[in-house]
């Protein structure tokens, strides 16, 4: 019975999540990331992890412009959550990627691939002239930031780029 229930849950379940984040500045995010890049999503393919317990999404990005670091022209990263069709897992505090979407990502190298820093705080979607962070359902804990620095939030892409490039 337990096994049957577990199989049902695996087939039907899709997790949602809610997080509480400490406010972080764009400059802090840039300083703590190996790479910050503007890129276009080439593909996003969900799959089960090797142990079959979780769903992750393999994302391939075509780098348009590196604002920090020297990434390869194509960057591959893995994010929690996604939908394989039969099984779905939604981690609300995790960033999601759609093919064709233009993004700005804050990355660290993890083994042969890359990881988005700080879950949803490390991904912005480029929407016209604006960059919008993927902090969908996160609670924000305010915190004093260094003078002149700006907390992660929606802002013009040009300002985001200027702040990243100027971060020391």
């Amino acid at each position: 019975m337990r096994r049957a229930l577990a199989l049902y849950l695996l087939a039907a379940a899709a997790p949602a999540a809610a997080a509480t984040f400490l406010a972080t500045s764009v400059e802090e995010a840039a300083r703590s990331s190996e790479v910050v890049a503007r890129a276009r999503v080439v593909s996003a393919t969900a799959r089960l992890t090797r142990d079959g317990r979780r769903v992750v999404t393999d994302v391939e990005l075509a780098v348009l412009d590196a604002w920090k670091g020297a990434p390869e022209p194509t960057v591959r990263l893995v994010v929690p959550g996604g939908s394989t069709g039969r099984i779905a897992m939604w981690v609300d505090a995790a960033p999601t990627f759609e093919p064709g979407e233009e993004v700005v990502v804050f990355l660290s190298r993890e083994g042969a691939g890359w990881r988005v820093k700080g879950l949803a705080q490390g991904k912005f979607r480029v929407d016209g002239l604006d960059a919008r962070p993927a902090l969908a359902e996160a609670a924000v804990l305010p915190r004093a930031l260094a003078a002149g620095e700006r907390a992660i939030g929606t802002m013009p892409v040009a300002e985001l780029e200027r702040r990243v490039r100027a971060a020391r």
Partner: protein, 337 residues
């Protein structure tokens, strides 16, 4: 009495404003609002949390950590709602989401994996297929945080609630809460905190806790006479709101969430300010006001889980006046089950 309540409820609905009292979490793609199917939802706690602030340590008189957790869940058991959240004991489970045993678990993480002596040497840290946090009881962060004293993006996460559900029905199947607690290493509490969030457990009203902020792990016994930090009950009460299917009522960035009002916006006369609601998306150290549900939070709970014969207002959004209706219903004598 019933007719008087009905009259008051009608008056409240007549005075309804466009402001939303609460917002429900909905399933991606299908848009189904999330809710537990059955009215009794047990939860467990993993007590693999060796490092606690003095105010959270068990004493012969009681266990402040467990008391705080129980009080947090109890806030969401209200007379107007057909929902019970009984404590079901300790479990060894460290995994959350569908990596676990499908029990609803509150898990205390012991700091960040990058600061964990064993985890930071384990290849699981850089393998997205392996649940490193579930192995070592730490919160998984980036490998480039190893050896760092500050890692702002990764160490800004205080708590995380995961809800498993059936997307075709919105039925919640499992929910878990991760709390990124202290790893036991002494020292200054940075911002962001290098050794996890320092939860404190002062019972009673908000005025009962010290107003000084802890600046070192282990205090107040390590030099500071009396201090508080991230209130455990305040944090968990908010997360349990997500556990039962509620979303934040407002947004800190309307460009990102245009369907929600700005948290900085005013509310109609008589409505609870966004900042004073348990489900408000902002919080702070020393804050305790989220320990107790506002009428708007209560309205959401009672709309999702109406008592049989109750309002049944389980739609995705609620009008401001529903808050008053919920309060009126909450004032009824609780039916014996």
């Amino acid at each position: 009495m019933r007719s008087a309540l009905a009259a008051l409820a009608a008056a409240a609905l007549a005075a309804a404003t466009p402001a939303r009292a609460f917002v429900r979490t909905t399933a991606e793609r299908t848009g189904k609002p999330l809710a537990w199917r059955f009215p009794v939802v047990p939860w467990h706690v993993n007590r693999d949390w060796p490092a606690t602030s003095p105010s959270c340590r068990p004493t012969p008189a009681g266990d402040p950590t467990l008391d705080a957790l129980r009080a947090s869940f109890a806030q969401w058991e209200q007379p107007c709602a057909n929902l019970e959240l009984p404590y079901a004991g300790e479990v060894p489970e460290l995994h959350t989401g569908d990596g676990g045993s499908y029990e609803n678990v509150v898990v205390f993480r012991r700091g960040w994996c990058s600061q964990h002596d064993q985890a930071k040497l384990d290849p699981c840290m850089s393998d997205p297929d392996v649940d490193c946090g579930g192995i070592y009881g730490c919160f998984e962060d980036s490998t480039d945080c190893i050896g760092q004293t500050s890692c702002p993006l990764d160490w800004g996460i205080v708590a995380l609630t995961s809800v498993l559900y059936d997307p075709s029905s919105g039925r919640i199947l499992d929910a878990d809460i991760e709390l990124n607690g202290w790893d036991g290493v002494a020292g200054n509490i940075g911002s962001p905190p290098q050794h996890g969030w320092y939860f404190t457990c002062y019972p009673g009203a908000g005025t009962a806790q010290p107003q000084a902020t802890c600046n070192r792990y282990g205090e107040p016994t390590a030099g500071q006479p009396d201090c508080a930090s991230m209130d455990l009950q305040n944090t968990v009460t908010h997360e349990v709101g997500h556990f039962v299917g509620l979303r934040h009522p407002c947004t800190t960035d309307r460009n990102r969430e245009p369907d929600l009002p700005s948290c900085g916006a005013g509310v109609p006369a008589g409505a609870v300010p966004f900042a004073d609601r348990t489900m408000s998306p902002t919080t702070d150290v020393l804050e305790t006001k989220k320990r107790h549900l506002s009428p708007d939070d209560l309205a959401g709970l009672c709309a999702i889980y109406p008592e049989p014969g109750g309002c049944g207002c389980g739609g995705g959004q609620g009008a401001g006046a529903v808050s008053l209706l919920a309060v009126l219903l909450a004032l009824r004598p609780r039916r014996r089950r």
